[in-house]
Symmetry: C2
Subunit: 490 residues, 2 copies
């Protein structure tokens, strides 16, 4: 928490006009360099008391900065598309690309403030919410987002005077009218504000308290703070990147979970056909059931190359109404995706309630291919385990069912399948040079898979390890697991 921007808290018109060109120059030049370098994005959270002039303050930023690379995203009552997805979805959706600056007006703190003031969220619940907000902001910061949070404050009597003035305006749209309840709840809101600042004011996403009685001080302080922070980040980017951290993954002594999979299971054609039909019928009925509209499902398929992910997915979607599911193959990210935190591409693909999203490869590539091939630095992939657990927690908390499958085959079986693919004309597209190269790194991938399963096998989203040496057996296991999970909810 920082209270000062090295400026006098009361500023007369003359000294403000004197300061202005210098401030603008400071802010604009930092922003322009950020735009040019495209090394990070800036997220400015604007929060605090009603009537403090947050809107005016943002308008000033638009005037002083390059408005073409600045956007203000305002969040009021969530739209129905937002309501149908976990609460952070709308904020993720609007995350700025590298080089861009976004202002968050009505941030993730608003819901906590509103609920707490209304008496729907007790102190303990507030603490839990704030802890999760912290994790979200920490992740953003580590992913290269410069997060700056401003808390605008106003003395009680001044707030009263201002809100009364606004209330007298006629025929204005809703966003102009301040929340009248704010006045009544001044003390409660102010106390929670202090707590928010204390508990979420980490160095990687600091709070800046802005006393807002004097509009000129307010705007100057905000501008200088942003300029300084951008400049500091630009300098940090210029410094030589540190050598990759050495990451030590603590493993359980029981050995890699991947090695414990019994690959001998087999299913004969006839039993398979019977079971398949029964399970698909079950899946069809449950997904058509009206209770399913209240939940939603996210299926993650990972596994050795050629383990049969595609075939398993086809058996899952066969009985589903095509209007309720989508299959997402995860390959190389687009440039819009690369310009944002890596989980952005999955947030933008989240299903609505009542829908099913099937990921053929997923966010786990971060700790598999990106780790093994060195696309992500050790400090990046090693923190991804926790970030992924938190992400999935958001999903299950919202009511989604999350099923994760690891389809395992032996190295020998993989070789047989690769060869078979090369020999069958309409399967040749499924085998590339990459596949052969990855095969040479079988052991490294096995270690990565073991670590992944051990560290992301949570209560809310557990892994199902599926022996896929026999495809029939694997498909039935997948369907069985999905039906079992659905059964608990429908």
């Amino acid at each position: 928490m920082v209270e000062s921007a090295d400026l006098p808290q009361k500023m007369d018109g003359k000294s403000f006009r004197k300061l202005e060109p210098e401030l603008r120059q400071e802010l604009l030049s930092a922003q322009l360099e950020m735009i040019e370098k495209k090394a990070f994005s800036t997220l400015i959270v604007v929060d605090g008391m009603d009537g403090a002039g947050k809107g005016e303050s943002v308008a000033r930023l638009y005037e002083w900065m390059d408005a073409r690379h600045l956007v203000c995203n305002a969040y009021g009552e969530p739209t129905d598309e937002a309501k149908a997805r976990p609460r952070l979805w709308q904020f993720w959706r609007d995350l700025p690309a590298k080089g861009e600056t976004a202002i968050v007006f009505g941030s993730w703190y608003q819901r906590i403030l509103r609920e707490h003031v209304a008496g729907n969220m007790d102190d303990k619940a507030v603490g839990q919410e704030l802890a999760r907000v912290r994790q979200f902001e920490e992740m953003l910061a580590l992913e290269g987002v410069l997060v700056l949070k401003f808390w605008y404050t106003l003395p009680k009597d001044e707030q009263k005077r201002r809100l009364e003035k606004i209330g007298k305006k006629k025929n204005v749209a809703r966003h102009v009218l301040a929340d009248w309840a704010a006045l009544k709840n001044y003390d409660k809101a102010a106390r929670l504000g202090e707590r928010i600042i204390e508990e979420t004011g980490a160095a990687d996403a600091p709070w800046f308290v802005i006393p807002s009685q004097d509009a000129q001080y307010r705007d100057a302080a905000v501008a200088r703070t942003i300029a300084k922070a951008m400049r500091a980040r630009l300098e940090a980017c210029k410094a030589k990147a540190p050598a990759p951290a050495r990451v030590v993954i603590k493993r359980s002594e029981a050995g890699s979970p991947v090695d414990t999979i019994d690959l001998t299971a087999r299913l004969d054609e006839e039993t398979y056909a019977k079971k398949l039909k029964k399970l698909q019928q079950k899946l069809s009925d449950m997904s058509d059931h009206k209770d399913f509209a209240k939940t939603g499902m996210i299926l993650v398929f990972q596994g050795n190359d050629a383990a049969g992910k595609g075939g398993a997915i086809r058996r899952v979607i066969r009985p589903l109404d095509p209007r309720i599911y989508k299959v997402y193959p995860i390959g190389a990210p687009t440039d819009e995706e690369l310009a944002r935190p890596y989980l952005w591409r999955f947030w933008r693909r989240l299903p609505r309630k009542g829908q099913i999203a099937i990921f053929d490869r997923s966010w786990y590539e971060r700790v598999l291919v990106e780790r093994v091939e060195g696309y992500a630095r050790p400090e990046a992939w090693s923190r991804a385990y926790g970030e992924i657990n938190e992400f999935e927690h958001e999903l299950t908390d919202f009511g989604f069912i999350v099923c994760k499958f690891w389809l395992a085959i032996s190295a020998e079986e993989q070789l047989r399948r690769f060869q078979a693919r090369q020999e069958t004309i309409y399967k040749q597209h499924k085998i590339t040079d990459d596949d052969w190269r990855n095969r040479l790194k079988w052991d490294k991938y096995a270690v990565a898979a073991g670590d992944m399963i051990e560290r992301t096998n949570t209560d809310h989203a557990s892994w199902t390890l599926v022996s896929s040496e026999d495809k029939r057996h694997a498909r039935i296991e997948v369907l069985k697991t999905i039906c079992k999970e659905l059964k608990r909810r429908v």
Copy 2:
């Protein structure tokens, strides 16, 4: 309109099973080549009678094609985000990238069907709607989308039998229940279906009528039709691209509108300050007014380089609540944008009702820089005039106010500004080698601008030509125009 896929309309299980591997191979190999080449995308419109098994038919496509590059987008009742934007927005949002295939379930025809059957849209209105749908589909086709439309039909008694059966199911979600009214309105819907097929069945977006009593015939016919169409398009892509068409732009004899702009207007500092304050206050009041929430505004800024677009925009946004507007600078498209029809990047930036979107450069770059620099082929930019008019018509029909500004300066004034920019440290970023290069093509840009204004100066979205030789004059003209347009609605 095509009724046959060279298949018998009744198919027993045995002949279907015999045909299946061949059909799958045909379809999959065409799709895989499309995925690999990334030369076009495929849009499959699934429409027709309730109970015909459209869902089942789509499920079959998922089974036979590479499901990872196939998505089914289902549209029911529009969400509130869709309702806050022109009706085509939701379809634009989901347009597939090149290489991808998207199924449209509940297409743009559904609203027409629903409204007509309910008696809310008479024959004449239907005709107008269908004409606009045609323009939309034609544009998609010309932009490289393979548009295939399937109309599933069923005899009346068969539909009755099926809908009754579905109606008996218990506890099912809403999407499972067929529309019971369908039965009552069979004749009316069937007649409109025939009209739709007749009036929108152009060669570039053909209808295929699929008699759906026999599910095996239905699925085989759809698959074969898609496979053939994809294959034909792939062959067409292989053929040598024709030489660019020679485009002749018919010009009015009055000379280029750009040349008619009187550049002598000036405004002194004092008058400017007074007018600016008054107009900004007006703009603030009107945009805060509750009536503005029922409309919305789209501002387009084009003009000579260094004409002062940025400065004018800053004067417009100064009095606006930062929660209601967004500024979009239009530079090079991202790869996600390049993979789709060029208007996609603007549809995805459309404001909601009650909001203002400000485009600093816009879709008009298609007929300016893309024309002059040769980034778009003559046959592409020359049809863009009509496409843009249609696009803006969608916007104004929906209730948006569209203001387009052409900011004009003389070649001499541009030179002075370029030189001044190079001399002022914090303006140097605004002048690049490109600017100097473009300047050498001053005449070509003037011709392009003249053609643009002449051909896109419509009743619903007219151009305002602004003399910007004097920046103060230009800014006041822009604000005046916006206030005048707003005044008619608020």
